[in-house]
Amino acid sequence: MLRYIGRRLLIAVPTLFLVVTLAFFMMRAAPGGPFDLDRKLSPEIERNIEAKYGMNKPLLAQYGDYLAGVARGDLGPSLKYKDKSVLDILKENYPVSLRLGLTAILLAAAIGISLGVIAALRQNRLADNGVMALAILGVCVPTFVTAPLLVLVFASRLGWFPIAGWDKGAVANMVLPVVVLALPQIAIISRLTRAGMIEVLASNYVRTARAKGLGEGRIVVRHALRAALLPLVSYLGPACAGLITGSLVVERIFNLPGLGKFFVISALQRDYTVVMGMVIVYAALILVLNLVADLIVAALDPRVRLS
């Protein structure tokens, strides 16, 4: 087990390295630079600024410097936000995205799994059709539609929740963004759970459990659910990474101080170091959460051998 984790992490390092390399050179190949302003700087000032950030060196040397920094855990200073390092930006904004994303995914898992189980147990009956209709809607109504509509109805017309803002994570401010983030996930999770449950409920070992005279509740929770959730776990790994690095749309509509907006703003402003920081965080999360998902699958399913 520990050896497996170690090996997977060792494989993740070159992948991460390739991602960083690709992102670094793609970013630098794009025209423009972080110090292009509307007002042209005099060449001397521009040279000074570039020298300060080591950008007067050849590209390969800068790449080497950057990698050395990353290896030391130093992601460099932001080129656009004065006096802030990339780590400062992460420390300041990441908790917001993390909190929103985690709440949304936990809520979605609780509701989605329950709905999926109910639908599977009542296959082709009213409850099942209802859940499946809901799932279709959840997939077909994108966040940039639900978010403004919910704001229009529940915030500006009914006044139940604030229209936007974070207010240090007050519950009232979190309700609408979390609901918007959770809805499509509820749809996908309930569909995956239903499909898994239907397959498992028809399997031989569930029939054996029934024949032994186990109660239906015990069969569903102890025997069926465990196997039925396997595809869901594999889905949730990367989905989590996307959710907790911040949703651009939700953060923009609700004006939340999360990480999502830096993906766009920093790339547009060529804030090289911040962009690289975002890419590293996202890629590392994807790799780690995929590993975690594989470990959970192995723990749930004794047939899976980690090697």
């Binding site: 991460l16 992102a23 025209p31 279709i136 077909c140 109504v141 403004p148 993906f263 975002m278 890419v279």
Partner: protein, 294 residues
Amino acid sequence: MTRAETLQRATALAGRSLWDDARRRLLRNRAAVAGMALLALLVAAALLGPALAPYAYDQVNKADVWLPPLAHGHLLGTDALGRDLLARLLVGLRVSLAIGLVATVVSLVIGVAWGATAGFVGGRLDEAMMRVVDVLYALPFIFFVILLMVTFGSNIVLIFVAIGAVEWLTMSRIVRGQTLTLKQKEFIEAARAAGLSRPAIVARHIVPNLLGPVVVYVTLTIPAVILAESFLSFLGLGVQPPMASLGTLIATGASDMELAPWLLIFPSLVMVATLMSFNFIGDGLRDALDPKDR
């Protein structure tokens, strides 16, 4: 029974192929048929609508701004510049559908070629090609697209390419997996024994047999692409004004919703209807082509 009759019966029976079966199953699926009807309606509206609409999508009318639906001959009302929402919606739908189609074809070509080659050749090459896919998976999609946009400037063709270039990853994984199982089949062995070259085997025997899962995935990729474009437009990176797409219309609708909720509601409805039609067709196709998966 004469020999001729037997032969005739055999050919008559052979006429019912996997695809005939699939078509029959698809047509029996009410949701899928409803999805196809809805899609036909939307496509017709997108193709013919802009020509039939009484206003041009970019016709500014300072006298008629913020008109609610049904006022002054504007069926769905007007926006901040007095442009007719119906006309803009029809053009936006056309743009979104076109992007969905073209970007999906781009992702289809790259994904099938990449996945089939990796799966068929196998070994080191397979490992290297799939590692490329892993690396691209770990790059945030939006980062990739923004870089393409700023490097080459924002234009519609580039949006097609950028989204297609991102969406091929899953396609290549599906195709590779299918190829790995196909490769073991006897008819491939036979083709190899008959002396066919490897590219010819891939093109003539592997790719046609991949059609089932690929068709299903394509119908699910089109709505994903339409969503991706809308997402970019929502962030101001997609289709540029005065051109419209469903995404740009929803974005302006969202910013003006306090004053003119219809600007948000109608584009949202069309978007949901479009996504729904593709999803119903995709689900129906999956059931039809892979009956054991139900």
